[in-house]
Symmetry: C2
Subunit: 372 residues, 2 copies
């Protein structure tokens, strides 16, 4: 992984007290923008990325040279129309695309943090990103939008900063990580920690990489992003470049080859310790508990207009967990819309070419923008 | 793992041609029996175990010193009543509880097989076990019963030996491993192969054990055995012996501690290469393809009475896949009953104390036995 110098960095000078109790300051927040901020500064959308995303939302990611992770949704005339809106996205703290994370050096010791990096939370992530508003002199965002862990940040953001966004779009997410969610994340962490090269997180100092463990973690996560039906339709029992079973342990089936490929390309763009830290932040996320068991209280100070989106085949953050957010908003008479999009593509639906979703998101944003 | 000398072994002298093309003979099949074979020899039930099971169905397993894997269902006055029936169960070939498997020595080279062991199939497993009938001079079994991979063996057995069982009880299984099933198994295999100690399967010769990889594989599988709802009800976000989050990577949550424990105890009783071979056999299982796309043809030669059982919260082998077996049987006018048992315990329901299931199984067997 080669984090190039052309990454945009905002150095956050103001001290940020983390949930773990430690305070950080003078730390880098890497970000990217798309479109132009208008004169009124009322067209800004803060997009939050998911577990393995980064600030390069659309177009070609200058580091990986591949399409940005939300190229279907963000761009000129797309759902989040960059001809109209100014899109900002920051790499989360704890990440590995330029923002302050475990692969950085500890200025006090001049050693790479590794697992000495403080454990961060979704709350810490959004409290770092709020600084982007000052940086761009934006008083109020037109929208905060994100899917999966991005959706968790959306919920935390509007809870922390109730007057900083006009519209709020949490997608395919949850207000509290479930036991099954934690279980899959723990599986990934154990896969990494089991890698001989992980060396208790000191691999960068040792010039080794726990690629095998990180690859297994990615494979595990990837299965959860797709639906059983989607996998069956796409792969079923199709064989990989062979006419018959080979009676060995090579990838006989296309699904095996696909997973191995997903694992192998992931390790080129992601840091294993960042994977540990970000999954930990997700597991710690419990907005319900933050408000003593009453999720409604998280939103009672905001007048923002919410639009919650879920997908029929998402079994990682199923519709019911998205509906729980809607129920909490309804309970306080908040302005909230909800749609469950029919899709066989599982949790990944929000990242993929799912026309009903893309149209729905565009309509909500564009109609809401006309009203401001 | 210490496979003791008191394990009962049937040496299969007759050559067995495996699906991979190789022929094996003079190989050990480890088995156990419960109850007594009656004079008419008409009260025998062949039970097939699942992926990580073994021949020690009930009572205390003499090797692990823990309860047998089906202690809820098998025993005096239980669903499979050992006061009434003679229960036989064999360790599958490829396994690690005494039957011919990858931890055995190759007599030709005097070296431990490791991954030189031939890849075996569900078909090979049942073709090895048919020899138990000759051994006990049983002409026809009263029943063949099994859950999960045990159910696959049930289906394969009656397809291969249509006149060798009066009743047939496949539980929580499938006629063809799905892409998602293969994906989870491949994840487990990759976790093992990623372990530095696996050494291309030669760990026993090297006096090392890929315990970390095998443990991760077990954790992955274990998640699939439980339902999302069951996990939430049992663990939710409960903390493990602490009042608050510790902002580290130890097991903060009970679900993390539980999974780590499941992984750690598993490696004491299971062989990593056996895990590779048995998951491969499951992935290769496709009874539909064996009969050119028409599952009904697998059963057209038998007059056996079928009873198919599924569980509402089983997402590994969901009800629909069990119903597909019923549909194939109905299409040829076979004698088939079906029940979907309501349970939040996921795929593991068949192994657990699920009274509706245990009663239903008992009623089917006992009523059917009265009719013979």
């Amino acid at each position: 992984m080669n984090v190039k110098e052309n990454i945009k960095i905002l150095v956050i000078k103001k001290p940020l007290k983390l949930d773990c109790g430690k305070t950080i300051n003078n730390f880098p927040l890497a970000y990217e923008t798309y479109g132009s901020l208008n004169e009124n500064k009322d067209n800004a959308i803060l997009v939050f990325h998911a577990l393995t995303g980064d600030q390069f939302v659309t177009g070609i990611n200058p580091i990986t040279k591949k399409d940005g992770w939300w190229s279907y949704a963000v761009g000129p005339n797309k759902s989040i129309d960059t001809n109209k809106y100014f899109v900002i996205c920051a790499n989360v703290i704890g990440g590995c695309m330029g923002s302050f994370g475990p692969s950085h050096k500890n200025p006090d010791t001049n050693k790479i943090y590794g697992t000495d990096f403080p454990v961060i939370t979704i709350n810490d992530m959004v409290n770092a990103q709020i600084n982007l508003l000052d940086h761009f002199k934006i008083k109020k965002l037109f929208s905060v939008v994100g899917g999966s862990m991005g959706g968790m940040q959306v919920l935390q953001f509007i809870s922390n900063y109730p007057d900083k966004a006009i519209t709020v779009v949490p997608i395919a997410c949850t207000s509290s990580h479930s036991a099954q969610n934690i279980a899959f994340n723990e599986l990934g962490r154990q896969a990494i920690a089991s890698d001989h090269n992980w060396s208790d997180g000191k691999y960068l100092s040792n010039n080794t990489l726990p690629d095998k463990g990180l690859s297994v973690a990615r494979m595990a996560a990837h299965i959860t992003y797709l639906s059983k039906k989607g996998l069956q339709e796409k792969f079923g029992r199709k064989l990989q470049e062979r006419d018959s079973l080979k009676f060995g342990f090579d990838a006989d089936f296309q699904i095996e080859s696909y997973l191995r490929y997903q694992g192998s390309v992931f390790v080129d763009r992601f840091d294993a310790n960042s994977y540990l830290y970000i999954t930990r932040a997700m597991d710690y996320f419990d907005l319900v508990k933050q408000f003593d068991g009453n999720l409604s209280h998280a939103f009672k100070k905001t007048k923002a207009k919410f639009f919650v989106i879920s997908f029929t085949s998402d079994w990682l953050y199923p519709t019911q967990e998205n509906k729980d957010i809607v129920i909490a908003l309804n309970a306080i008479g908040a302005d909230v819309g909800f749609v469950e999009i029919k899709s066989d593509k599982g949790h990944d639906s929000f990242l993929l070419d799912v026309p009903d979703f893309l149209k729905t998101l565009k309509n909500f944003l564009d109609k809401s923008y006309l009203e401001i």
